[in-house]
């Protein structure tokens, strides 16, 4: 399942500025594709546009070669699992029921969950290492547990692609590494993974390709070495930094430098 956008333009409501101002990109099938960029650069908007949650002003979005607007929400949810940045639970709910919601696109209003659905939920829980948490209330989980449970819900959809918006925000080293490894393994298993993240060093280490957004435009796109160039990253993040090859991972990594002119 690949994603493709062409000259994509999105504007929120009557805002003057475009959230996305002509974005063309392609996520190849089976790739771990990381979307980077400063706050407000249009990353989350790109996710919503890819999955047809917001109207497009211009351009096209294709999922699996078919325009997003030609998919019904249910059809799309059967092939793409998504984990948005934030969810605010209105009521307590058990981890089992929460992950079970991933089966929704496969069920009709009158069809009850069958053995196949329960098996998909079990597999997703095991994959994310949260089987022990099934009886817990989701609102009582720690940040790391919650993120893995949310990814398990997306995997329970049995999708062929995953889209995640900052799944490792505010997680400790162990949890962010375990999530990156999980996503890497999923991509190696043939799943297309689009990952929005601020962990640019981990993205450089694990991703196949990078997309660097800035003010709603594509600043750079391609293999890690093509995007990880000091002058590009410095101008986008507006901070001096150095790019060096890391001796442990063998991938380019950035080190932010002290700023001389600004505080």
């Amino acid at each position: 399942m690949n994603f493709q956008t062409s000259e994509l333009v999105v504007r929120y409501g009557r805002a003057r500025a475009k959230a996305l101002a002509g974005v063309s990109m392609e996520v190849p099938e089976g790739a771990l594709y990381a979307v980077l960029g400063p706050n407000g650069s249009g990353k989350s908007t790109l996710m919503r546009a890819l999955l047809g949650l917001i109207p497009l002003e211009a351009g096209t979005v294709r999922v699996g070669g078919r325009e997003t607007r030609d998919w019904t929400r249910r059809e799309l949810a059967r092939v793409v699992g998504a984990v948005p940045q934030a969810e605010h639970l209105a009521f307590p709910i058990s981890v089992r029921d929460f992950v079970g919601m991933g089966r929704y696109p496969h069920l009709g209003p009158l069809r009850r969950e069958g053995e196949g659905d329960r098996e998909a939920v079990r597999a997703a829980l095991a994959r994310c290492d949260v089987t022990d948490l099934v009886a817990r209330d989701v609102t009582t989980l720690s940040g790391g547990e919650l993120q893995r449970v949310r990814i398990a819900r997306a995997l329970a959809q049995e999708p062929s692609a995953l889209v995640l918006d900052e799944p490792t925000a505010s997680l400790d080293v162990r949890h962010e590494m375990s999530i990156f490894q999980l996503l890497r393994a999923s991509a190696d298993g043939g799943m297309t993974v689009l990952l929005i993240t601020h962990h640019i060093n981990l993205a450089a280490r694990f991703a196949d390709r990078l997309l660097l957004l800035n003010e709603g435009r594509v600043e750079a796109e391609g293999a890690v070495r093509d995007v990880f160039r000091e002058e590009i990253l410095e101008s986008v993040y507006r901070w001096p930094l150095a790019v060096r090859t890391d001796v442990v991972s063998g991938t380019p990594q950035i080190t932010p430098l002290s700023s001389v002119s600004e505080p």
């Binding site: 799309l76 059967r78 948005p84 934030a86 009521f91 307590p92």
Partner: protein, 329 residues
């Protein structure tokens, strides 16, 4: 297991409440009297009391109580707010304004068929107004705007009611206040059929949407990613739950507490799965309101206590017990 037991228990409670309601009252009937009257060979007075007064009243309690609790549960999920209840979006204000208007103009007496019609019209006006305000701000229906619009429209109707009452005769004011406190005293077969026509099909529609409502409670964006047509679900749920409330208010006035406390209490026992919560809310609301009406009739016999007083007196302690139990480890 616990769920099946609770469903069965509540169903039995509804039947028991209806049975006691038709037996007990100013004239108490024996079980034998009830069955003889139902078979058509009983005492004619007993038969009339049973078929023309008590049975429609008990069934009205079942439908209005069940409908209020069911729509309360839907409003809580839709507005993602455990404090939401069926009247929160101005329906009570609109219907009361309609009822008070015709009462204060001296157009009708409390038993007239025009009164429920006026109340229903007022409720519909409130629903349409709130919806128009909430949906015009954006193309999508923002539930926060919906809540604000509902509260504001409700306040407007409260002002209308205050104005009407201030210029009304004392007798009309008394009728209006009694109407606003809610009562099942106006029960008739016509009203039962009217409410059933709105409540039962609407209830089935909402129960069919239970899974989508579950998804809404974990966030609209996620619900969309999981395959829900969020806008359609919100609009349908709002419209259908409002109609149930409007029909209930039209025939029984504003009966508080059922729509707030019943779904909330059930949530503490069985959790927030709407597939379970909606049918159980209907049963529990039905049993609760029918029982409350029975108490309201009996406690100061021959006069009646406003049913809202009883729902609060019975509901608050019950709710506090449940709340405490859910907080203890």
């Amino acid at each position: 297991m616990k769920r099946r037991f609770l469903s069965l228990l509540l169903a039995v409670a509804v039947l028991l409440a209806v049975f006691l309601s038709v037996r007990l009252g100013h004239v108490s009937l024996g079980t034998g009297d009830v069955f003889r009257a139902l078979k058509g060979n009983g005492n004619p007075t007993h038969t009339r009391i049973l078929l023309e007064i008590r049975l429609p009243r008990a069934l009205l309690g079942v439908l209005v109580g069940g409908g209020l609790a069911l729509s309360g549960s839907v409003f809580q999920a839709l507005l993602r707010n455990p404090l939401a209840e069926p009247y929160i979006l101005g329906i009570s204000g609109g219907s009361a304004a309609g009822a008070v208007l015709v009462l204060s103009l001296g157009l009708v007496t409390v038993s007239s068929v025009l009164l429920p019609a006026a109340a229903f019209a007022g409720a519909l006006l409130a629903i349409v107004l709130v919806f128009r305000v909430a949906a015009s701000a954006d193309r999508s229906l923002d539930v926060r705007v919906l809540l604000l619009a509902g509260v504001v429209v409700g306040s407007f109707f409260t002002a209308v009611i205050a104005l009407l009452l201030s210029i009304s005769e004392a007798q009309a004011v008394r009728s209006a206040v009694l109407w606003m406190m809610g009562s099942l005293a106006g029960a008739s077969w016509t009203r039962v059929l009217l409410v059933a026509g709105y409540t039962l099909p609407s209830g089935l529609v909402l129960m069919g949407m239970a899974r989508s409502l579950n998804l809404l409670s974990i966030g609209e964006e996620t619900a969309g990613y999981l395959g829900t047509d969020v806008e359609r679900v919100k609009r349908t749920a709002y419209g259908v739950a409002s109609l149930i409330t409007a029909a209930g208010v039209a025939v029984a006035g504003i009966i508080g507490f059922v729509g707030l406390i019943v779904p909330h209490a059930l949530r503490l026992i069985v959790g927030s799965d709407q597939r379970l919560l909606l049918p159980l809310s209907f049963l529990a609301g039905a049993a609760f309101l029918t029982s409350a009406d029975l108490v309201a009739r009996l406690i100061l016999d021959p006069s009646e206590v406003p049913i809202g007083v009883i729902t609060a007196f019975l509901g608050v302690p019950l709710f506090l017990v449940l709340l405490r139990r859910s907080l203890s480890p």
